[in-house]
């Protein structure tokens, strides 16, 4: 059953050929069989899943079901889920049972998608490899020596290994697109504000954005339709009504203007990744698109700018973890200050502490102008580069990451080398633009994605391009042999 497309699953559910209970049990069985080695789930919720599957079956029988009713889903462990542990893969929240649902969780409950469990991630979404999880690293289903990417590494791995048909993720600096690339699945980060942040444990609020992680672009469009929408509980939620992200899927690509930034193909890009990306662009060109060169001259300023701004926002957001109202509290605090500082020292992992400290420093008296304000100016310059480029082209294409998935442990001792590998995804978050990773090939049996970035609100166009590409290629249909 896990080899069916979502469309086939939905048709069989609606025709009564299979039930949601059977489908959900099938995935729970696969999780029990395979997740011990993959470590892609932090929590599996079989009772909740089966209860929701029974409710979905009632809707399917009574004729009130929607397209995705009865299709199980896995939520990244950053989405608060009422009554379920929501850990953000941190010791700090290891004992945290969320008392309410994130907006995204509510939306997908309304559709009737049974929750299989919560997926592993980098602690508090700070990382690019899912190795900083308190629960240990997730393995890449294509190669157990490799990381699945991060921070939504668990979500990407469960889709690649067939341990969930659909998954949710979040992307602050590339955390949907990079693991999608490393695991050979499709993932889209929508325009900032498209999906409500309500109930998502905050990392950097002016960047955080949730999106779908699926096998195909068509499936991503359907899941995004269910996730997106205005929510008054998120002060930056966009008031746009009635957008159908699947509406343009079947548009031909004739006349599409694709911009390829020269700066993205320079030093540091693995030549084999470059070949995969260029072949993918050539395939899209064959379908009638026109390829032109564009320039994003300030791309090297994006990484330092982001690593000032995101930790600065994190240092503020994560001040709520104080050992008083929820989360970890240290043993035998000698006074209130000791309670705060030791609960935080013992509850947070090394990378999270680094980002909070560096963020607090960047905001401190004497350094604010040199770091924080400077970084905000660079943010505008990076955004203006895109604005200029989109005067010449409809979308921009390039690599998602400079290499395929690296080995577990390869970069853990050198955090800044991990930061620099985010150079293609981060500019998109600085600008708040939508970006997508679509499977485009392999290098040494490790998947590589093509990065497609568009102007604000161009999600339907990006999904259209990926869908058309997936009509003439089968990278998204491939599965690691041992999980078939």
């Amino acid at each position: 059953m896990h080899n069916l497309t979502i469309k086939q699953m939905s048709e069989k559910l609606h025709a009564g050929e299979i039930t949601s209970v059977q489908l959900t049990q099938h995935y729970l069985d696969r999780i029990a069989k395979y997740d011990g080695e993959l470590n892609a789930y932090v929590t599996v919720t079989p009772e909740l899943a089966m209860e929701m599957a029974r409710e979905a079956d009632e809707r399917l029988q009574s004729g009130t079901a929607e397209l995705l009713t009865g299709i199980p889903v896995a939520h990244k462990d950053i989405f608060c889920t009422d009554g379920v542990k929501t850990s953000c893969s941190s010791k700090m929240l290891d004992n945290f049972i969320a008392p309410y649902d994130a907006h995204v969780v509510t939306q997908l409950k309304k559709v009737g998608m049974p929750i299989l469990g919560k997926t592993n991630m980098d602690e508090f979404a700070m990382g690019s490899s899912s190795e900083s999880s308190y629960y240990g690293p997730t393995k890449n289903p294509w190669d157990h020596q490799a990381v699945p990417g991060g921070s939504s590494g668990g979500a990407a791995a469960v889709i690649a290994a067939g341990l969930a048909p659909m998954a949710t993720g979040t992307d602050t600096g590339g955390s949907i697109r990079q693991p999608a690339s490393f695991c050979g699945i499709t993932g889209i980060k929508p325009t900032y504000g498209t999906v409500s942040r309500f109930g998502i444990v905050a990392y950097a609020s002016s960047f955080d954005q949730a999106g779908p992680m699926t096998r195909s672009a068509e499936e991503a469009a359907w899941l995004l339709n269910a996730m997106a929408g205005f929510d008054e509980r998120d002060s930056t939620s966009l008031q746009r009504e009635g957008v159908d992200y699947a509406a343009e899927l079947n548009q031909p690509l004739k006349g599409l203007k694709v911009g390829v930034p020269a700066e993205y193909f320079g030093e540091g890009l693995d030549p084999q990744v470059e070949k995969v990306v260029k072949d993918a662009i050539a395939e899209i060109q064959k379908q009638g698109a026109e390829v032109i060169e564009v320039s994003l001259p300030n791309k090297d300023l994006a990484v330092p700018s982001y690593y000032v701004l995101a930790p600065a926002e994190a240092s503020s957001n994560l001040s709520r973890f104080d050992g008083v109202r929820f989360g970890y509290r240290c043993e035998k605090p000698k006074d209130l200050q000791d309670l705060y500082t030791r609960s935080r020292a013992e509850g947070f992992g090394a990378e999270v502490k680094r980002r909070i400290m560096v963020g607090a420093y960047a905001l401190s008296a004497g350094f604010y102008d040199a770091y924080y304000l400077k970084a905000q100016k660079l943010r505008r310059m990076v955004r203006d580069d895109f604005t200029k480029a989109f005067e010449q082209c409809d979308v921009i294409m390039g690599p998602v990451a400079p290499t395929p998935a690296f080995n577990i442990g390869e970069k853990t001792d050198d955090p800044t080398s991990m930061y620099l590998a985010d150079l293609y995804t981060i500019p998109v978050n600085l600008a708040g633009l939508p970006g997508l990773s679509v499977p485009a090939g392999f290098v040494n049996n490790r998947p590589v994605g093509l990065h497609i970035v568009g102007p604000y609100f161009s999600e339907a166009k990006l999904l259209n391009i990926a869908h058309q590409y997936q009509q003439t290629t089968d990278w998204h249909k491939q599965m690691p042999a041992q999980y078939q």
Binding site: N95, F96, I97, P99, Y192, G193, S206, E232, S235, T236, Q239, N298, D300, L301, P304, S305, Y307, V308, S319, D322, V324, R325, F326, G327, R329, P333, K334, D335, L336, D338, L339, Y340, T341, R342, R344, A345, K353, R354, I356, M357, V358, G359, A360, Y361, A362, A370, L373, K374, Q376, K377, L378, R380, M381, R383, P415, T416, Y419, G432, L433, Y456
Partner: protein, 95 residues
């Protein structure tokens, strides 16, 4: 930029994160590397560029000043480390 023990202690206070004596060296080294990355920003000419706080030029939405939350303190406090009679308990502050 290379941070010393004094700076690490200062940052530890700002962040409200205790740093043990035997951790100072490694914390200083890794934070210094990150500050070296920040230094790459200096060379960029940002004269006349307005700081950008937010990706979309949005105005903060306001809502009517009416009660929108119900009393859920029992549920919300069920995840607290220590409570009594609806209050959060912490070590004694005033002798």
């Amino acid at each position: 930029m290379s941070l010393g023990k004094t700076e690490v202690e200062y940052i530890s206070r700002l962040a409200a994160i205790a740093v043990k004596d035997d951790e100072v060296g490694e914390v200083a080294a890794k934070l210094s590397n990150i500050l070296d990355l920040f230094a790459q920003m200096e060379a960029a000419d940002t004269q006349g560029v307005e700081p950008m706080a937010h990706p979309l030029d949005q105005v903060q939405r306001l809502r009517r000043d009416v009660i929108s939350e119900t009393d859920q303190h029992e549920k919300l406090q069920s995840v607290a480390p220590s409570t009594s009679e609806g209050l959060y308990l912490v070590p004694q502050v005033i002798e």
